[in-house]
Amino acid sequence: MPDETKPANADSAVDRRQFFAKLGLGSLGIAAAGTAAFAYQFLEPNVLFEPSPVVNAGKPDRYPLDSVTLDVNSGIYIVHSQEGYFSLSAVCTHLGCLTAWKPELGIIACPCHGSKFKQNGEKIEGPAPKPLPWKRIWLNDDGDLLVDRSTDVPPLQRDSFVRV
């Protein structure tokens, strides 16, 4: 017996129950996506109470010629070479440990996994994949050396040194 209350395409059409089920699931899906976006935004801090990337390394005459000085708190080396002053990140490019200058060997070494670097940051041996990056260094108006830890500069270039 044909059901006259059903439209002709009743089999393919969405009935009321299915419509509301889809509406409900769709709303839940949108709400879930919104919750995921909300959670992601919540978990990502908007304000960080981290030290400024720019570090004041003091007067240049603190660093004698041919010296490598580690600042433990900021994680940078100030190197006073024949060509001038330059700054090197002291954070190992392997897994982020703080490296140390070994004056008796004339190298920079990482205590965690044994990476070794030359005084100019060049890699001697791994596991570090990359050399220690050079950081932008300049003199401010007071004659203090400033280093921007967030900016890498090409190594051994004229502009990467500060001459006093």
């Binding site: 978990l43 801090p45 960080l48 109470f49 981290e50 897994l95 440990c97």
Partner: protein, 263 residues
């Protein structure tokens, strides 16, 4: 005549209060003993009946049960430790030292927590090796193996997050190295590291996040999966016993059939 201890317990089990809590009633019939398991919210996760030989030491070496034991010790010692520990950068290290040298029994609780943590990692691996070499991960228990792998990850994450909390040099550099390993994930590695630490370096945010993960999120998630893990043992036909597996029985029957045909 004086009553034996068992008789005292029987009297206790007959009291109205006891019967209002444990409805299965007294008696040691198979039905009563099964009901005692089935009608208890904690025990109903487990099978009402277990083969006697599966309770022998050689069957499982009790590795799963011992792992649960260390987990319970970790919960029981971890909560009191939380009462003296502030997860803030200026206080965390000093609180750890206070727990060792100032708080009564603090040293005992902290060491018990630490040793249990080490033991739990060892036992989880031992449990998994035992399950693997006995072949107990096979159908119909594959899903419980998957749950087990999730529980292994939970255990390792609990170890890792707990490692930061003393806030000493070892903790700091271990988490620095570990978070840099996380940043090796393709494409989203640095984002994962940033969200994990709540910043660009291991600092106060990282300490707080690891504390919340260690004391709330991961233990709750672990309990959730532990419950499923135990429940699945019952649902998948009890503890694995090679002699009683359907495949073994099938092979046995097939051998019997061929032997009869040969005759």
């Amino acid at each position: 005549m004086a009553k034996t201890i068992d008789q005292h317990f029987d009297t206790l089990r007959e009291t109205r209060v006891w019967r209002s809590i444990f409805r299965s009633g007294t008696g040691s019939s198979t039905l009563k003993r099964a009901l005692a398991i089935q009608q208890n919210v904690f025990l109903h996760l487990f099978s009402t009946k277990v083969r006697t030989r599966m309770l022998s030491f050689s069957a499982t070496w009790y590795l799963g049960t011992l792992t649960l034991g260390t987990f319970l010790i970790l919960v029981a010692t971890g909560i009191p430790l939380m009462l003296y520990y502030h997860p803030s950068a200026p206080q965390a290290y000093a609180d750890t030292k206070d727990l060792q040298f100032v708080v009564s029994s603090g040293l005992f609780l902290r060491n018990l927590h630490r040793w249990s943590a080490h033991t739990m990692v060892f036992l989880v691996f031992a449990h998994m090796f035992k399950v693997f070499y006995r072949g107990a991960y096979r159908a119909p228990r594959e899903f419980n193996w998957v749950i087990g792998v999730i529980l292994l990850l939970m255990t390792l994450l609990l170890s890792y997050t707990g490692y930061l909390l003393p806030w000493d040099q070892l903790a700091y550099w271990a988490i620095t190295v570990g978070s840099n390993i996380a940043s090796a994930v393709p494409l989203m590695g640095n984002k994962i590291r940033f969200l994990m630490l709540g910043g660009n370096a291991v600092n106060a945010n990282a300490l707080l996040r690891f504390y919340v993960l260690h004391c709330m999120i991961l233990p709750l998630a672990a309990m959730f999966f532990i419950a499923i893990h135990f429940w699945r043992i019952r649902k998948d036909g009890g503890l694995y016993s090679h002699a009683s597996e359907p495949t073994t029985l099938q092979a046995k029957n097939a051998d019997g059939a061929t032997a009869q045909e040969a005759q």
